[in-house]
Amino acid sequence: MAPIMQGSQQWVEKYRPKQVKDVAHQEEVVRVLTNTLDTGSCPHMLFYGPPGTGKTTTALAIAHQLFGPEHYKSRVLELNASDDRGINVVRTKIKNFAAVAVGARRKNEVYPCPSFKIIVLDEADSMTEDAQACLLCFSFLTFLVSKCSVFKPRAIAVQNALRRTMETYSKVTRFFFICNYVSRIIEPLASRCAKFRFKPLSEEIMNSRILYICKEEGLCLDAQALSTLSSISHGDLRRAITYLQSAARLFGSSISPENLVSVSGVVPEKVVEAVLQACRSGNFDIANKEVNNFIAEGYPASQMLIQLLEAIVEENDISDEQKARISKKLGEADKCLVDGADEYLQLLDVVSNTMQAFSNMPEGFAYES
């Protein structure tokens, strides 16, 4: 008997706020966008901030509220990082979308439905610079062409033709760029948008949202589990909801802090403490054994590095200099792991270095020639 498909929806989608005013903790953006809803005019927007703070939610909500379900498909183009987004896609897809003219607003329309289209570019910072530059041409070409004033006489006709089409594009399209790091967006793009920073969510707001979901789904979550959830998700509401759903699927409706830790892939406090203790002991063999154990338990080493860093920063017994020395090594090891280096060797190196820092052994190696 094969299993039957169920409409098992991701909670992240299910509980996404549908209206701009429901977006929590981002008053500034909400104010500007409500204004947009009233007037029907809107600049290009650039949303940036850490993951899980509501950037995509806000962009999608405003698009839905502006156009309603009927026009949404024809007026809004959503592109995110997993779609292929080389320069070609930007050229063809966006151009084709932008080229179709928008109809006039119908009389009996319920939604504001202003006469422009929206292109939402999620995770814009992972686009190549070329693609960003190309995008720039499309959205703002009026400006660019007027700047390039020195044309050969023959080319002028072509340029003008181009310019006219481009002008029509830029009149009818609005871009919403969404990214984590505003510094990765090329300057000319960024300077043409209204920029909004999304703040990380505070613990109270996250908790109230989580509790609401728990109530809707009939889950039982005690205060301790709630605080664990907010500490392992680091202000990222999406991650918190994903963990919650995974735990609910795997362990049923009453969820303990341990359940949450086990689905999140976070290394338990106890294990981190054991490794640190081994570092303090100053005995290499003990540390080696601890690292071997750690790898056999199957915990991810990259996660361990993050948690070691947290533990080291909060450590009271060691000097700032020692902390800096350890952190430097953690950074190097992380880079190596990203390159695909072996987890055991990197972790052993980190632990050995931490041990040296703890016992204030001189930096560098004695016998290196």
């Binding site: 094969a2 997993s82 892939g265 063999d285 790898i295 056999a296 792991l337 280096a341 060797l345 190196d349």
Partner: protein, 354 residues
């Protein structure tokens, strides 16, 4: 048939080591709300066993009727078309592939297979919608691009197929994929658990085990269950009835590496380095993965070294292993490590004994 396969638990109820995980998986299947799954853990911990048992739980005995196929896909990659060949293992309800075998073209494989599965969507006798399962091995070896394209595909086709991903280290799987899956960590079995399993196998095979024999095998196995069972079987072939003093022979490549280790401890000279090179080549030719060689070598050296040298040596091992990943010819880097070790050890000897 090897004991490893013969005594592999076929259903979730028979799983001995990860009983709690098996129980939870069973619950998932029963509630018919199965998300994408990501299994991670060290090798020989039982990831594959759990996955196969899970498939059986989902689809019944038909999941075990697998056929091995060598398939070619025609893929349109922009301007040119590619022919990709890959070995698949499939039953009526699932397909298993190791997409990383396709090298840098892995992303096309992933997309093609999933799309194809979505196209020929199976319908059962009652006309209900049914999903297929795609098992992907070694997802940690997938390229970044493939992982990125996987993430979109996972969402788009989640109504038609479920993915079960399997890997050794979840550090190398991008956050985006991890957050879309239910992560299941499979830890290596403890030595006690290995002993338990070995004793059960011994009973099934009708063997007499001297006391402490299973424990010794478990100790040597490095918490790798597959290895423990393999060496158990080797012992059986070598000598039966077992004696309590029976030698549990290590793998020959391990012995070879410890020989290399004592070679370089004894003499540090270009001539010795040259001899070691030959031995390293022997190992590589016999398909021992270079990082395993380096790790084993480090382990052997650490056993023999003075405490004050250990930090230094383990640092350089990590350093050269990282370089080996970035580079292409692993022999250079292993040899560089050996040379580095020789130079460190020599200057240590000079500083200590003059």
């Amino acid at each position: 048939m090897l004991w490893v396969d013969k005594h592999r638990p076929k259903v979730l109820d028979h799983v001995m080591v990860h009983t709690e995980i098996a129980h939870n998986l069973k619950k998932l299947v029963k509630e018919e709300d199965c998300p994408h799954l990501l299994f991670y853990g060290p090798s020989g911990s039982g990831k594959k066993t759990l996955i196969m048992a899970l498939l059986r739980q989902m689809f019944g005995p038909s999941a075990e009727k697998v056929k091995v196929e060598n398939r070619t896909w025609k893929v349109d990659a922009g301007s040119r078309s590619l022919d990709l060949e890959l070995t698949t293992l499939s039953s009526a309800n699932h397909i298993e592939i190791s997409p990383s075998d396709a090298g840098f073209q892995d992303r096309y494989v992933v997309q093609e297979v999933i799309k194809e599965m979505a196209k020929n969507r199976p319908i059962d006798t009652k006309g209900k919608k049914v999903f297929k399962v795609l098992v992907l091995n070694d997802v940690d070896k997938l390229s970044r691009e493939a992982q990125h394209s996987l993430r979109r595909t996972m969402e788009k086709y989640s109504a038609y197929c479920r993915l079960i991903l399997c890997c050794n280290s979840s550090s190398r799987v991008t956050e985006a994929i991890r957050s879309r899956c239910l992560n299941v960590r499979i830890n290596a079995p403890t030595e006690e658990q290995i002993v338990e399993v070995l004793e059960l196998i011994g009973k099934k095979e009708g063997l007499q085990l001297p006391p402490g024999f299973a424990a010794r095998i478990a100790e040597k196995s490095n918490r790798n269950l597959r290895r423990a069972i393999l060496s158990f079987e080797t012992c059986r072939v070598q000598q039966y009835p077992f004696t309590s003093k029976q030698e549990i022979s290590p793998m020959d490549w391990e012995e070879y590496i410890s020989e290399i280790a004592s070679d370089i401890m004894k003499e540090q000279s270009p001539k010795r380095l040259f001899q070691v090179r030959g031995k390293l080549y022997d190992l590589l030719i016999n398909c021992i993965p270079p990082e395993i060689i380096l790790k084993r070598l480090l382990r052997e050296l650490l056993r023999k070294l003075d405490a004050e040298l250990k930090h230094e040596v383990c640092h350089w091992a990590a350093y050269y292993e990282h370089r080996m990943r970035l580079g292409q010819k692993s022999i250079f880097h292993i040899e560089a490590f050996v040379a580095k070790f020789m130079s460190i050890y020599k200057s240590f000897l000079i500083a200590t004994f003059g």
